[in-house]
Amino acid sequence: MVELSIPLSDEAIRSLKVGDTVALSGVMITGRDTVHKWMVDTFIKKTRPPQGDDLEVYNAIKPLLHSSVIYHCGPVVAGLDTRQYKFVAAGPTTSIREEPYQGAVMDHFKVKGVIGKGGMGPKTLKACQDVPGVYLHAIGGAASLIAQTVKRVLSVYKYEFGVPEAMWVIEVKDFPAVVTMDAHGHSLHAEVEAHSKAVLQDLLTRPLESIPK
């Protein structure tokens, strides 16, 4: 088990290899579909002018994201009425939907860790080599367990995106994850896919013997 503290140093990131289990502590931000599209459209590709509190939020999250971690998560949060927020259930969501955006977001904000589930593709793997960064796989569906590692909710941005899509700034202690994409170009997901493809090709050539047509 590797203990990692946020902010993450380049050295710590480069020392991680696919298969390492980590316990992550420090301040990170949740962000998923709406957030990634908003970041890229408004601040990276600039296809949409900033509106409302966009610039204010950008200036607030920029230092928080530097050398930190984005967590693909849409939590269940208690205390919405009183704003005494508490994470009740907070497992990862599927990361591949952010593949069109993630590399650019990592590069722009110098995000060094992305937590999610299911893995990501070649663009993100390249950003992991360049920034440098890692993709950390949390256990999908382990929501109650992961919520217990969230010690405090420090603030929330873009609440109007909805509870699952807002950016929650959280302090975590010993958040459990597995490195499945590292800064050296290795991806467990690419390996598993290649292996399963070969098995599939073989299975597809086999007849249905016992079952009548």
Partner: protein, 290 residues
């Protein structure tokens, strides 16, 4: 007519926070088959620990509490309009109590309704009148990550070499499982519908998931195909969470529908390991959960 709102709220709490026993047992068995110290084993250990913690604390097993899908089997004389209102009231309360995440988003303006209501299909409620005096409500919480892994194949499928027979069905399902990789939170459970039209087939591919994991298929051919597909998909080596490993699916459930002469669909719904389905029965003032 009875007001079932409280009882339905309990059904929602139970479904979101306590995994059915057959699913937990299957996950336990899968865990024991993985190599000690492997990522696959670690994932299943974490999953089982989380299941226990969620039950103990009455917190959602998974934060994606999904689309609430209700099947209501009611004796004659019940108002389905009133039942729908009670289901909606229970869903709103379950959201306030954090058993459900606000999950209903307007597709045009992106706004989350905040209370899990939204149009005719959120929550989704199917009604069917039945003989006898017992009312049964089945509930499934179907998460979005696994829903994205669903697929529909129109046979014949040239690339797969899949024709319009069970051999072709097998190839389509194998491909669907491969395409899903670990994205749908493996080890999953596949609900498969053969035939139908595009719509009825997708509904059926979820209805079949209400069957218990150890329940044999009443059709011997389909029973055999279920067993074979489960074994072959597990040979793909995708494993829990897609980490590689022995268990990629806990089971495959298949149903067949009549089809049009021109159409031969193979339709697959992917259910994640957090296979949240529960049932309540109401007979007089007796309410039971399983």
């Amino acid at each position: 007519m009875q007001d079932l709102t409280e009882g339905i709220l309990e059904l929602l709490r139970l479904t979101s926070t306590d995994l059915p026993p057959d699913v937990e047992a299957a996950l336990h068995e899968a865990m024991q088959q993985e190599e000690p110290g492997s990522a696959a084993r670690g994932a299943l250990e974490t999953i089982l620990e989380n299941v226990e913690l969620s039950r103990k604390n009455s917190t959602p097993i998974c934060q994606d509490t999904g689309t609430p899908i209700f099947y209501v089997y009611h004796p004659a004389g019940w108002s389905t309009q009133a039942l729908r209102r009670q289901i909606e009231a229970a869903v709103v309360q379950a959201t306030q109590k954090s058993y459900l995440r606000p999950n209903s988003v307007d597709s045009l303006n992106g706004k989350n309704s905040g209370n899990n209501l939204g149009g005719h299909y959120f929550p989704t409620v199917h009604f069917q009148e039945v003989d006898g005096e017992t009312l049964t409500i089945e509930l499934m919480l179907k998460g979005g990550g696994s829903e994205n892994c669903g697929a529909q194949y129109s046979l014949p499928h040239t690339a797969l070499g899949a024709g319009r027979d069970l051999a072709g069905v097998r190839k389509a399902v194998l491909d669907g499982a491969y395409q899903a990789q670990g994205q749908g939170c493996a080890p999953g459970i596949l609900g498969v519908a053969i035939g139908g039209d595009r719509g009825s087939a997708f509904f059926t591919s979820k209805e079949v998931l209400f069957r218990k994991l150890d329940e044999p298929n009443p059709d011997p051919q389909l029973n055999e195909l279920e067993a074979r597909l489960t074994s072959e998909i597990n040979q793909l080596g995708i494993g829990p969470m897609g980490f590689g490993g022995k268990t990629t699916v806990l089971g495959v459930k298949i149903d067949s529908l009549h089809r049009l002469p021109a159409c031969y669909f193979v339709t697959m719904s992917y259910m994640c390991w957090a296979y949240r389905r529960r049932k309540m029965t109401v007979a007089g003032d007796q309410v039971k959960y399983e």
